[in-house]
C-alpha cells in the first residue's frame, strides 16, 4: 500500500483512520451509557428503557459514602499536587544546577510510568514500619492522600513545568527592575502568568485521584473505601447495571465540564484574535 501517493487518497485515508480510531475510543463509552438505561439485570439483552438504576444509585449507601470519600481525597490531592508541583517545576526550570538534580528529576517523573502496584506496595510497607515504630499513622484517608499526592505531583509538575518554561524570563526581570522584591515577583507576575497551567494541573490531578484503584487499595484502611474500589469489587464479580449508571453520571459530568472548558477557551481565543486584528488596524 503506497501511502500518500495522491492528496485526495491521503486525505480520505486520514479521515477514515481517524474516524475508526475515534470510534474505537468512544464506542465503549456509548455502550456503557446505553445499557445504563436497560431494564434488565442481564447485560447485553435489551429489554426496555428504565431509570431505576439511577434511582437505586442514590439509595446505595456504600457507593455514596465511597463517592464522598473520593471527592474529599481528590480535592486534597489536587491542592497538594499543585503546591508540590509548582515547587518542583520551579526547581527544575529556574535552578539549573543544584546537588542531586538528576536524582530529583528522575524521582519527579518516575511515578508517571512506575506501575502502581510497586508504588502502592512500597509506600504501604513504609507506612506500616513507621506505624510500628511511632504508633501512627493509621491507614485511612490520610494515607490514601499520600499515595495520590505522589502520583499527582508527577503529573502536576509536567503541566506546570511546560507553562513555566513558556514564560519569557524578561517578565520577572522587568518586575525586579521596577522595584519588586523576589516574593512580590512570584505573587504579582509569575503566578498570574502560569495561572492557566495551575488550573489544568488541578483538574488533571483531581481526575486522576478520583479514578485511582490500585494505590487506594493498598493504602486504605477499614472504613475508608473509595468509590473506585467499590466499583472495582462489583465489576470483578460480573456485569452490573448499577455500575453503568454510575459510569453515565461520571461521564456526563466530565463531558459537560471538558466541553464547557474547551468552549470557554475557544471563545476567549477568538476574542483575543479579534482584538489583535483590531489593534493592527488601529
Amino acid at each position: 500500500m503506497r501511502l500518500g501517493t495522491s492528496a485526495t487518497f491521503n486525505r480520505r485515508f486520514g479521515i477514515g483512520w481517524m474516524l475508526a480510531a475515534y470510534a474505537f475510543l468512544y464506542v465503549p463509552i456509548f455502550a456503557l451509557v446505553l445499557y445504563s438505561f436497560n431494564d434488565s439485570p442481564l447485560p447485553n439483552v435489551w429489554r426496555g428503557f428504565t431509570l431505576r438504576w439511577y434511582a437505586a444509585l442514590v439509595r446505595d449507601a456504600e457507593l455514596m459514602s465511597g463517592l464522598w470519600l473520593s471527592l474529599q481525597i481528590a480535592f486534597l490531592t489536587a491542592c497538594g499536587s499543585v503546591v508540590l508541583g509548582t515547587l518542583a517545576a520551579f526547581a527544575l526550570v529556574k535552578y539549573r544546577r543544584f546537588p542531586g538534580r538528576t536524582l530529583f528529576s528522575g524521582m519527579v517523573s518516575a511515578p508517571l510510568v512506575m506501575p502502581e502496584v510497586v508504588v502502592g506496595l512500597s509506600l504501604l510497607l513504609m507506612l506500616v514500619s513507621v506505624q510500628r515504630a511511632l504508633g501512627f499513622p493509621e491507614r485511612g484517608l490520610g494515607t490514601i492522600w499520600l499515595g495520590h499526592l505522589l502520583l499527582g505531583m508527577a503529573y502536576a509538575t509536567v503541566v506546570i513545568q511546560s507553562r513555566l518554561q513558556a514564560m519569557p524570563p524578561q517578565l520577572e526581570e522587568a518586575a525586579m527592575d521596577l522595584g519588586a522584591r523576589p516574593h512580590q515577583v512570584f505573587w504579582l507576575v509569575t503566578l498570574p502568568t502560569i495561572a492557566q497551567g495551575l488550573a489544568s494541573a488541578w483538574l488533571l490531578t483531581f481526575t486522576i485521584s478520583l479514578d485511582d484503584v490500585v494505590l487506594s487499595a493498598f493504602l486504605s484502611g477499614p472504613g475508608s473505601t473509595t468509590m473506585p474500589l467499590v466499583i472495582f469489587s462489583r465489576a470483578r464479580l460480573g456485569l452490573n447495571p448499577s455500575v453503568n449508571a454510575v459510569a453515565t453520571v461520571v461521564i456526563a459530568i466530565v463531558a459537560v465540564g471538558v466541553l464547557l472548558a474547551s468552549w470557554l477557551i475557544a471563545r476567549s481565543e477568538q476574542r483575543r484574535q479579534a482584538e489583535l486584528a483590531a489593534a493592527a488596524h488601529a
Binding site: 524578561q170 527592575d177 522584591r181 502568568t193 483575543r272 482584538e275 483590531a278
Partner: protein, 381 residues
C-alpha cells in the same frame, strides 16, 4: 592626527575639568567573567548627567552584559559602578534608581496598560492619588491616554513600545537603560520612533545608556557612542568624531562604508605626509607621529571620492585611473565599485542630484577617481 592608543577614560565633550568626581555615572574598570570567558574586559567611562550614551558593537561584544550589570541582573567580577557618587556594588535591581526598557518590552500580559505603568509606582508605596497622577502624566507623555485600559496583546508593536517606555520612566529613575530599543520595529516606523524617543528622553532630561548593534540607530540617537569589541571599548566619542576620525581599522569599518588601503609612510613631514598604497599615492595635509617606512592604513570614505571623466589637476597624488566594475543603485545615491590597475577595488559613492543624466557613467567605463588631501584618515592599528 592618528590615535595611537585606545582612550582609558573618555571624558565627555564639553566638560572643562577632568571629571574626577563630577561624572554622574562612572563605570570604573569593570570586568565580568563567566567561567573562563571574559565578557567585559576592564571597561571604564564617565557619563554626564542627561547624556544619551550608546554602546555599539557586533553581537557577542559584551554590550548587553555591561548593560545588565548596570541594571543589576549581573554582578561584576571586579570594578565599580558609581551613580551620582553612590557605589551600586552588588545591589539587587529592585534597590537601584535605574530602570530598563527591554528589547521584547516585557509588558505584563495579565495587567492593563495603566496597571503596567503603575506597577513600579505601587512598589514604592506611594499614595494612590499620587500614583494616579503620575500614570496619567506618563500616558500623556507617550500619547496613549486612550489605551489605558487595554491589555498588551490588544496593542500594536509601536504602542507596546511606548507603554514600555512610559513604564520605565514612571519612577523618575536616575538612569534609563534601553536594550536594542528599535530592534523589533520595521524600517519606516524605526525612523519616526528614533526621533520621538530622543525627544521624550530629552524632555524628561534623564541620563540614558542604550545598547544597539545598529550603527544608524546609535548615530541618530546618541550624543556619544562607545564602540565595543570582545569586551573592550575601542573608541568613545560623538557620532561625527567616530565617523570622520576613526581610531582603528575596526571602528572605521564597523561604522559606515570605508575604503581601507594598506601602505607605507614614504614622506613624513611636519605639515604633511605621503603614503604609498600600491597604485595610489596619498598626500595627506597634516603630519602624523610616526617613522618613515612604517606600515600604515589609509581610511577613505566612499562619499569623499569624486569620479569623473576628466583628470583632476594633480594626478600624481590622491587620484587614480579606474574602471567601473559594478554599480549599486540605492535610489538617492549610487555606489561605484572601481577596479584599480593593480586589481584592488575602490568604492566611490555619489548622490543622485539630478533625476536623469545623459552622461551617466556606466559599467566598464574608465574614469578618474580623486579626493582632497583632507579626506583621508591615517590609521596605525
Amino acid at each position: 592626527m592618528a590615535q595611537n592608543e585606545a582612550p582609558v577614560h573618555a571624558v565627555p565633550a564639553g566638560e572643562a575639568d577632568g571629571a574626577e568626581d563630577g561624572a554622574f555615572l562612572r563605570i570604573d574598570d569593570l570586568v565580568k567573567e563567566f567561567g573562563g570567558y571574559r565578557a567585559v574586559d576592564h571597561v571604564s567611562v564617565d557619563i554626564a548627567k542627561g547624556e544619551i550614551f550608546a554602546l555599539l558593537g557586533p553581537s557577542g561584544c559584551g554590550k548587553s552584559t555591561l548593560l545588565r550589570m548596570l541594571a543589576g541582573f549581573e554582578v561584576p567580577t571586579s570594578g565599580r559602578i558609581l551613580l551620582d557618587g553612590r557605589d551600586l556594588a552588588s545591589a539587587p535591581p529592585y534597590e537601584r534608581p535605574i530602570n530598563m526598557m527591554f528589547q521584547s518590552y516585557a509588558l505584563f500580559p495579565h495587567l492593563s496598560v495603566w496597571e503596567n505603568i503603575a506597577f513600579g509606582l505601587k512598589r514604592e508605596g506611594r499614595p494612590k492619588a499620587e500614583i494616579a497622577d503620575r500614570v496619567e502624566a506618563m500616558l500623556k507623555l507617550v500619547q496613549l491616554g486612550r489605551f489605558a485600559q487595554r491589555k498588551p496583546h490588544q496593542l500594536s508593536g509601536g504602542q507596546q513600545q511606548r507603554v514600555a517606555l512610559a513604564r520605565s520612566l514612571a519612577r523618575q529613575p536616575q538612569l534609563l537603560l534601553l536594550d536594542e530599543p528599535l530592534g523589533a520595529l520595521d524600517k519606516k516606523l524605526r525612523e519616526q520612533t528614533q526621533i520621538e524617543l530622543v525627544n521624550i528622553i530629552e524632555q524628561v532630561g534623564v541620563t540614558c545608556v542604550m545598547v544597539t548593534h545598529d550603527q544608524e540607530e546609535a548615530m541618530t540617537m546618541a550624543q556619544r557612542i562607545a564602540v565595543m569589541r570582545e569586551g573592550r571599548f575601542l573608541q568613545v566619542g560623538a557620532p561625527g568624531d567616530l565617523y570622520e576620525t576613526p581610531g582603528s581599522r575596526f571602528v572605521a569599518d564597523f561604522i559606515g562604508n570605508v575604503n581601507l588601503m594598506d601602505g607605507t609612510l614614504d614622506v613624513d613631514a611636519a605639515d604633511h605626509c605621503v603614503i604609498g598604497c600600491g597604485d595610489v599615492r596619498h598626500y595627506v595635509g597634516h603630519g602624523i607621529t610616526g617613522t618613515q617606512g612604517m606600515a600604515v592604513t589609509v581610511a577613505l570614505r566612499p562619499e569623499k571620492v569624486l569620479i569623473g571623466r576628466e583628470p583632476p589637476q594633480d594626478t600624481s597624488h590622491n587620484a587614480v585611473r579606474a574602471t567601473v566594475k559594478e554599480k549599486s543603485y540605492f535610489g538617492s545615491f549610487t555606489v561605484y565599485h572601481l577596479s584599480l590597475p593593480s586589481g584592488a577595488m575602490l568604492k566611490a559613492s555619489a548622490a543622485n542630484v539630478a533625476r536623469w543624466r545623459d552622461d551617466e557613467i556606466t559599467w566598464g567605463e574608465t574614469v578618474w577617481a580623486s579626493w582632497s588631501p583632507t579626506a583621508q584618515v591615517v590609521l596605525t592599528q
